[in-house]
């Protein structure tokens, strides 16, 4: 195994080059299944590289051997014919061995992927054009809550994602943690993920789902169990009531304008469900499925003109005066 790995480094410098990058890479693995997938990938790539090199050596030798010109077609000689037949049969046999090996490996690796644990946390993820709705449950029904585009999980614990496509097919993929799984309307799919290291892992919709498929990202934030509990308790709370006048004005505008028809802010009258739950939108790292970091400014830019920023998305431009816009974005930013 070590030799195989070393070989992989030698024959595919490209993989080496890619070993140490970003937060959304199958090669930067920090989840249990991503780590085992990475090993499998490296092994298969290494073996295939060797196969390719052997074929190339045979090809080069074949071309090198008899390069002088001869006008007449070569008449096959029985003895060479026999030797070549034997070689081809041997090569086919070797091929069979290699692919059988791959098949068996894949089979066991697949079986390992599907195994959960008994202290599982269940999270429901729904894919919509072009954002993610995330639902957490609790022992009691009022502990249930929804959020969007940002998923917190505790490190070292199996998390079972229940995946549901609400409009078209999407695909849930956090390469650094696990392989992908589609969200198919009318079907209940699942995926089990365990993060082994705290960190922020980016995921992105991997199935083409229309106009803004390119901007349908999300974050999985793996944190220590303590931090996770803190986060989940905070999220279960309704939205903070605004204390300052500007924020209260923002809330009023939010509730009076069409915003409330599409968005929920728990603790207020806003209970629309077409758009993301905004109860704690200010606490999320990004808005609009990974498009901008959450700041007052980016919120204002988004609300002022969502269609230029993310053409085709399902939030219309709602005309607001500059004051209203300022107040609404300040209010939303304050929803930590």
């Amino acid at each position: 195994m070590r030799r195989a790995t070393r070989l992989a480094w030698v024959v595919t410098p490209a993989v080496l080059l890619a070993g140490c990058d970003g937060w959304q890479s199958a090669l930067d693995a920090h989840g249990t299944s991503a780590v085992s997938l990475k090993q499998l990938i490296i092994l298969i790539v290494a073996v295939c590289s060797v196969v390719w090199m052997l074929v190339m050596i045979a090809l080069i030798m074949a071309l090198w051997r008899n390069r002088r010109e001869r006008p007449l077609p070569v008449t096959p000689q029985p003895s060479t014919q026999r030797r070549m037949t034997a070689t081809v049969i041997a090569a086919v046999a070797a091929t069979t061995v290699v692919i059988s090996g791959f098949t068996i490996m894949s089979f066991f690796a697949t079986r390992a992927l599907g195994i959960g644990g008994n202290d599982e946390l269940t999270i429901k993820v729904r894919g919509l054009q072009w954002w993610w709705s995330v639902e957490y449950f609790g022992a009691r029904s009022e502990e249930r809550f929804e959020t969007a585009n940002e998923i917190h999980i505790p490190v070292g614990r199996n998390v079972r994602f229940k995946l549901e496509g609400l409009d078209v097919i999407h695909s849930f993929w956090v390469p650094s943690l696990a392989g992908k799984q589609d969200l198919v309307p009318g079907r209940a799919n699942e995926l089990i993920i365990r993060a082994e290291k705290p960190g922020i892992y980016r995921g992105q919709c991997a199935e083409f789902c229309g106009m803004q498929h390119a901007h349908m990202a999300f974050l999985v934030i793996a944190e220590s169990p303590d931090e996770f509990d803190k986060w989940i308790n905070a999220q279960r709370q309704p939205a903070v009531q605004p204390s300052e006048e500007e924020l209260a004005g923002g809330q009023r505008t939010f509730l009076e304008k069409p915003c409330a028809a599409c968005h929920t802010v728990r603790g207020t009258a806003a209970s629309g469900t077409t758009g993301p739950d905004l109860t704690h939108v200010g606490s999320r790292k990004y808005i609009a499925a990974g498009l901008f970091e959450t700041t007052r400014g980016s919120l204002a830019a988004w609300i002022a003109d969502p269609q230029t920023i993310k053409p085709g998305n399902n939030m219309p431009m709602v005309p607001l005066t500059p004051e209203e816009l300022r107040a609404v974005s300040a209010y939303l930013a304050s929803l930590k």
């Binding site: 199958a26 196969v51 090809l59 071309l63 007449l72 070569v74 081809v88 791959f102 409009d167």
Partner: protein, 637 residues
């Protein structure tokens, strides 16, 4: 047309060579003029048109690819918006698969197969003409819709519900579905012609084990078309029904199912990729002989590999759906069957290498393309084996890794042999040689440019870049490689440009070619370059698998055919013993009318289901015109 059928029949037996050729030319000719050009049923003229049209679509699809590469060269580029981009990649994929790759292979076969079999025209020549018109109409429909900003934007496999009535607004998805109907209709027609030509019109004595491997490949391909294309016809028709008259095939709320679409599509879609690859493999097996100067090693193994690939290809479709949520362990069956394809593929690769090993290679451009093909196809095949592994695929499905895989097999595995084939058969088709200097330049630019463009995409995929995104954010680590890929594509485009220039220039002013410039062994080289309208003045008689290599005492031919009637020999299925002097239909304008009537009906039916009812009346009329006997010698029996 001669109305009198009672006069004394002329026979070639009694004629001098020059008189024989003159009489045959009179009987088989396509007169000059537009009308005659529209009415011709000569497989060479239609094949040439078909090939040219397919290459036009290659250039158009390539320009779309260049646009995508410009857009993706940097993060958050604003050149192309999401709506256009989605149309562009859908057009690129659909155009390359349905309007270029599949038709071009059939087109080469329409031209070459009758010549390689030693017959005078393809079976059902009028159907052949019809098929070309339908293909042209389908391609025009797709590109017109693109010009009108109405092109499909749902990907080349148009998954529902995105393409369904609820989310696919406008007529875009309908245009995709109807383009499918057009191209499948034409592909099915050609498949039937090829099967019957290969079964019944082989030169006397061309037993099954003497058929050139390319022809075998086309036979297997034609059967794949016949068995696989109905699946996409069922799929696209039911999609149109869902969209137009409110059926619920794909609506989970009413008992339909979303994955049903994927099953139907890929039950066709996987054989489809071998419909593209097998002809290319056949071209390699056939072309390698003159350039290795040796009969291909392992004829039986090569043919069995083609057949085995064809059969296996129906048992793999689920490997495109590994992450759709089907039972994962059940998926492992499809891992096994997909990987099994490596065996017939390996058999062919090993046989080609063995042929080169024992031969005396002549390094002309076609051989360069064959070598380039082996180098790249093996990479593409091996990445295919990688994605066939379920766990591996969960990380790379729908990423640039898969984009890399399929361009390696499509371009490396099919376009390289095709370009080699164009250089190889160009003298037969045009009577002129292509320039070797330009040929070598285009080969090296395409080979190097191709690998620099597509190899890095494997890494992009592993680095998490999904496919079908119109842009990506600057904080993703992809921009370096994307820029590199886009720049490399310039080399690739330059190579294609030289190829096109070479072809156009050589067709006009290339050096004049002999009948058999490569000293090749198959029958198409036994007739002048370009071949006369009747292909062979006297039909060849075959007694070995390399007729032009084993004929030191002259080519054996048959006589006794009439010259006043388009006559060709029908032979028995296995032993190719002559059974009849069958007539081959004359030129006719009716296939064009039928194609026009069909086109009107199909396009109309995007808008109203009644089109099927009213539109079939003109179709029936044109078909009656087509088949009604005309009291000409061909109608005698």
């Amino acid at each position: 047309m001669k109305a009198n059928i009672t006069g004394p029949a002329t026979r070639d037996t009694d004629l001098e060579r020059s008189q024989l050729e003159a009489e045959l030319a009179e009987t088989w000719k396509t007169p000059s003029g537009l009308w005659a050009a529209l009415a011709t049923v000569d497989h060479k003229i239609i094949g040439r048109r078909y090939i040219l049209t397919a290459f036009v679509f290659l250039a158009l699809g390539g320009i779309l690819a260049a646009l995508m590469r410009i857009q993706l060269a940097q993060p958050e580029a604003r050149l192309i918006g999401p709506d256009r981009y989605n149309q562009i990649f859908t057009m690129h994929g659909a155009n390359m698969m349905f309007l270029f790759a599949v038709p071009v292979m059939e087109a080469m076969a329409v031209y070459l197969v009758p010549l390689m079999l030693g017959t005078r025209n393809i079976a059902f020549p009028r159907l052949n003409a019809f098929s070309y018109w339908i293909y042209l109409a389908g391609g025009t429909l797709l590109w017109l819709s693109f010009a009108l900003d109405m092109a499909p934007d749902v990907g080349w496999f148009a998954y529902v519900p995105l393409s369904g009535p609820q989310y696919g607004a406008g007529k875009r998805a309908d245009i995709w579905a109807q383009m499918i109907t057009f191209t499948e209709l034409s592909a099915l027609a050609v498949a039937v012609e090829l099967v019957v030509t290969i079964f019944k019109q082989r030169a006397p004595g061309m037993t099954l084990d003497r058929i050139p491997v390319f022809v075998w490949a086309m036979l297997v391909t034609a059967f794949l078309v016949i068995m696989a294309m109905p699946a996409i016809m069922v799929a696209s028709t039911s999609l149109i029904l869902d969209r137009l008259v409110g059926t619920h095939f794909y609506n989970p709320a009413e008992g339909g199912d979303v994955l049903l679409w994927q099953h139907l599509f890929w039950f066709f879609g996987h054989p489809e990729v071998y419909i593209i690859f097998l002809p290319a493999a056949g071209m390699v097996s056939t072309m390698i002989e003159p350039f290795a100067r040796r009969p291909a090693f392992g004829y039986l193994a090569l043919v069995m590999a083609l057949i085995a690939t064809g059969i296996l290809s129906f048992g793999l479709w689920v490997h495109h759906m590994f992450v759709a949520g089907l039972p994962r362990l059940g998926n492992s069956f499809f891992t096994a069957s997909s990987m099994a394809i490596a065996i017939p593929a390996g058999v062919q690769v090993f046989c080609w290498i063995a042929t080169l090993w024992d031969g005396k290679p002549v390094f002309a451009t076609p051989l360069l393309f064959i070598i380039g093909f082996i180098v790249t196809f093996v990479i593409g095949g091996l990445t295919g084996v990688m994605v066939a592994s379920v766990p591996f695929d969960t990380q790379v499905h729908d990423t640039y890794f898969v984009v890399a895989h399929f361009h390696y097999v499509l371009i490396g595995g099919a376009v390289f042999p095709l370009l080699g084939a164009v250089h190889y058969w160009f003298p037969k088709i045009t009577g002129r040689m292509m320039s070797e200097t330009l040929g070598k330049w285009s080969f090296w630019l395409i080979f190097v440019g191709f690998n620099l463009t597509f190899f890095p995409m494997h890494i992009l995929g592993l680095q998490g870049m999904p496919r079908r995104i119109y842009t990506y954010q600057p904080d993703m680590p992809w921009h370096g490689i994307n820029l590199f890929v886009s720049l490399s594509a310039i080399i690739l485009v330059a190579g294609f440009l030289i190829f096109f220039l070479n072809a156009i220039r050589s067709a006009r002013s290339g050096s004049v070619a002999d009948d058999n410039p490569w000293a090749a062994p198959t029958l198409e080289w036994a007739t002048p370059s370009p071949p006369p309208s009747y292909n062979f003045a006297r039909v060849p008689v075959v007694s070995g698998s390399h007729p032009l290599w084993d004929c030191s005492d002259g080519l054996a031919v048959a006589n006794g055919l009439r010259t006043d009637r388009r006559e060709l020999v029908v032979t028995s299925l296995v032993a190719a013993e002559p059974q009849a002097r069958e007539a081959s239909p004359r030129n006719s304008i009716w296939p064009l009318w039928a194609a026009i009537a069909t086109t009107v009906m199909l396009i109309w039916s995007i808008f109203s289901p009644w089109a099927v009812v009213w539109g079939s009346i003109p179709i029936s009329i044109t078909l009656i015109g087509w088949f009604w006997p005309k009291s000409i010698p061909e109608d005698e029996s």
